[in-house]
Structure formats: structure tokens, C-alpha cells
Amino acid sequence: MVLHTMSQTVVLGVIGSDAHVVGITILEQAFSAAGFDVINLGVQTSQEEFAEAAVAHDAEAVLVSSLYGHAEQDCRGFHGVLEDAGVDAHTYIGGNLAVGQDDFEQTRATFEELGFDRVFDSETDPEEAIAALRQDLQIAPTETERATISS
């Protein structure tokens, strides 16, 4: 079985006027270590900036982070903008997606309806997201990881 193993590009950023940067700093490092090319747009990234970067780098995935509680407002129309720009990438969103003490299943449904392929809560370990993306992109684990798994 020959799987797709070449390096793939993901666009990462925090949407809206949210400035919580620590999470994406950790995600950038984890995705890079896992062999992805990460384009980190940083915090306070607009929908258009995500779309432009995805086009410019021919990204396989767009990873949106939001912590401050305005994710829903900030993401309205996002998938339209991506489509208009001709982006056909997997879209993930993660972080603290609702204001207050929400029920996560409801939140997940809200964001899936908005068009996201996967929705992660803030307890998500980066490894989970990496595993999910590998699955979605049908990428095999790297040599070293296989070694670790089989050892």
C-alpha cells in the first residue's frame, strides 16, 4: 500500500479580533514537527486573509482557532468566502467556541452547520487534530512514528 507521504501545507490562524496566540503557537509547532508545512497567519486574521493564504499556498487544510467567545459571529459566511476564492481545503475549527458554559455537542453542530469539516474543543490535544488530518488526507505516519508505534 503506497500512501501519500509528501509534505502538505496547512494554513493556521486565529479568526476575528481574537488575540489568543498561545494555542496556535503550540499547534504550529506540533503540525510542523508532524511534517506539515504550516503557514501561521497569527491572531486577528480576517476571513479574507485565510482565503488568500489558502489560495497562495495551495493549502490542503485551513485550521481556524478561536478562544474569546465570538467564533460564531466571526465565522458566519466564512465558507462562502473560501468558495468564492476557489479554496477547496479541509476546514477545521477549534478552541473555546462559545461564550460561557456551553454544551459542546450543540456547539459542534453549530459549526458543522457553518460548514466546518471538524470541530474541536479546547481539551483537544494537537496529536488528535494531526491524526484526524492525516486520516482526512490519507497520509501515513512518518518513519519515526511508525518505528515508535511498532516498537
Partner: protein, 479 residues
Amino acid sequence: MIRDERIPADELRRIDEEIRADWPTGADVDFDEAIAYHESLPASKRFADVLEEATKPLLQPRAGVPCLDDQVELLEYLHGEGKADLLPTTIDSYTRDNEYEKAQEGLENARESGEDTLNGFPAVNHGVEGCRELIEAIDAPIEVRHGTPDARLLAAITFAGGFQSFEGGPISYNIPYTKRHGLEETIEKWQFVDRLAGAYTERGVRINREPFGPLTGTLVPPSIAIAIMLVEGQLAATQGVRSVTLGYGQVGNVVQDVAALNALQKLGDEFLPDEVVVTTVFHEWMGGFPPDEARANGVISLGGMTAAIARPDKVITKSPQEFQGVPTKEANASGLRTTRQVIDMAIEQEIDIDGIAEEQDLIERETRCLTDTILEHGDGDVVRGTIEAFDSGALDVPFAPSDSARGAVLPARDDDGRVRIFEWADLAMDDDIKEIHRARLSRRADTEGRDQSFRMVADDVDAISDGKLIGRPQNAGDV
């Protein structure tokens, strides 16, 4: 290029009129009438006096909801059930971005739906009248807490609205809170805020100003935070502010936290003019919290214990729901009461821990390296110096999202859990100090049998939420 100079009175008036035109509620501000209003407030609502006269650490939570009546109810609850000594009004993110239109939408939305569709109280939209209703409803001093790079209109309205304390500053509400605002720009805007506070002060209404000490909240080395506090305190003093509360966010190592709070007070008294009353505020852990209320209560209590030993003038409490999202009022009050219990049980005890003086000495030396470099960069002017020092990287903040800071400095904990600097980048620091950090970190690396790397930093970022102080490798030796 701007400098650390007081804004002239006519310039103050000009800007004031200009910014008040930004949103309709600005028109309701009348300075003389506002002074009279403040004078009519009872002593129990005079923020600076209440804070400065307290004999033990006062507690203050964070809290803000969009609608006025809900905010009144929330603050009443935190005052009554939470026994908060000082109250906050946390402003929503749209207002912080000066997007009053969006805030208005959110507010109307909230009023109709009954849901909190904004993450705070849009004070500009509520206007002077709305603010005063809040001030009148609550029998305690209330502070405006936000994170706004350009807070001029917010200040004009909330000061006239009866608030007597205002958090933030040009660095502390820029570097951690926004990507694109230049430092020169935010300094200029905050000079206005401070000048306005100074104008009230001149007329006998001492508005308390509180630079935001925790910065990015994530493993910020004490000396970096303190240096920035000193700069913001000085800028405020220049504009006539006479009540300054310098802030510091808990790092979790008791010795380092107590030493840092001591150093903060000492250097604050030394650096700020004599006519300024300097107080300190300690923020309970501002980094990632455990996703578990029981464990979060442990984190909160360690903060209370630290406060009982260091005795800052004020403590900003966290709630056990910090991880999850904006807390319920019950959880918020519970964070207050847990903290109060720990402080009140520990504060009468004589708890003198070894090594605090040495750590304080190190922090002071580090801080002086940074304040010296600022003055050098600015040829004696602290405004220019701050801008240039951030520009050159001689001054930096870890995990800064802002384009105005390099964000190249990386912290890591040493073997005792104290926050040290692992990657110095261009930070201005004496070599012997760097050597001390290096030695401490290499001792940790030895203990863990691994090299110093970003992995260590990432492990430390997660450690407290994972239940530990230090991010040790999961399996000893899994390098």
C-alpha cells in the same frame, strides 16, 4: 515623534471633542458636571481611597455581560454572595476594537434574545447614563477592565459615568491584545487616557489607573512584567495620575511570586514620583487552567496562599470555570470565597520563606537591566526608549501576538518551577544574569535527561492545566 510629556490643556480639549464625536453617546459627556457627579458619590465608592486605605488584600473578580440590568444583578451577586471588595466591569471585544456599531448589534441582540452574545459590557453604547445607573446600583467601587488599544472614548464615557478606576496601558493593552496597533500609536492614545484621569485628579477626583501586569498571562518572567509596569506607571504619572496600581500575574512558584510582588512595590515606589500613591495587584494564575473545577480550585487556592504571604493591595480572582468559558456568577463568587478563605486563614500566620530576598534581588537586577536599556534607547525619554527597545528586541514579551514586539524571548521553568528565560533573543540583559538562568535551566534539563528545547516550553505551557507546575516529560527518559 512623541515623548513622555504632559499633553497641554488645549490639546486635551481638542482630542476630547474629537473622540467624543465617534459615537453618539460621546455628546453626553460634560467634564464639570462629571466632577460634581463624582463629588456626590459616597466614600464607599471612591476607588483609590478604598484601595489605598485597606489593611488586607482586597478581592476583585472579572465580570461583564452585555445588558445593564444583568450587569447590575451580576455585580450585586458578586458583592453579596462573593463578598468581593472591589467590582469590575469587563468590556466586550467589539468595544475594545472600537467597533461600536457591532457592539450595538450585539447589545440589541442580547436584549432581544436574552443571551449573552457579547463577551462583556459595551460601556460606550450604554453611555454616561447607563454607566451611572450601574455605579449607583452597587455599593462598592467599580473598575473598568478591558484590553482596548485605543480606549479614549471608553475612558471619556466611563469617567463621566462615575467609574474611578481604569485598567490598561499603552504596552500592556497592546502587546498581548492586538496584532497591528503600533506602539507609538497606543502610547499616544493612552497619554490621552492618563491625561484625562489626571484632569479629574487635579479637580480632586483621583482616578485610579491600573496597568495590566500579566501581559500574555503565560510564563512571563517577572522582570519583563515589572519593567513594563514601571514604564506605564511613569507615563501615567507624567499625565497627572496620582493613584497607580501596578500589576503582576502569578507564575505559580511561591518564592518567585512573593519576590516579584515585593520587587514590584519597591521599584514602583522608587521609580514613580513621590506624589503618586503606588499600590499593587496580584492576578491569580492567568495561563491555561485545568479543565476540571476541583483542580482549578487548587490553582486558585495556591494564588490565595501566595497573596496571604506577599500581601498585595488587591487580588484579581479566577473562577473554577476559567478553562471552559465565561463563568456563571455562582462559579465567579465561589472563586472569590475560596480565595478569601485561604487568605484569611493564612494571613495572620508568620510565613517567612527562605530565598525570597535572593530571588527579589535577582528580579530587581534584571528589571534594572531592562529599564536602563529603555532609557538608553530613548536618550533619557521613556516613551521613545520603549518604542525603540521593543523595536530592537532589547525589550520583548514571550508569546506576544503583536507585530510591535518580537515575541522571540522564550521562557521555561527551572527545576524548582521558577520561570527563567530559555531563549534570550535580543533581550538586554547582563551576561552574569543570563548565566544564572542558563545554569538553573540546565539543572532541570539534567533532572529530566533531555535537552532544552521548545518541547520544554510547550510542556510548561500545558503543565498547570495538566495538574503540575513543571512540564516534566511524561515518561522519564522519553527524549
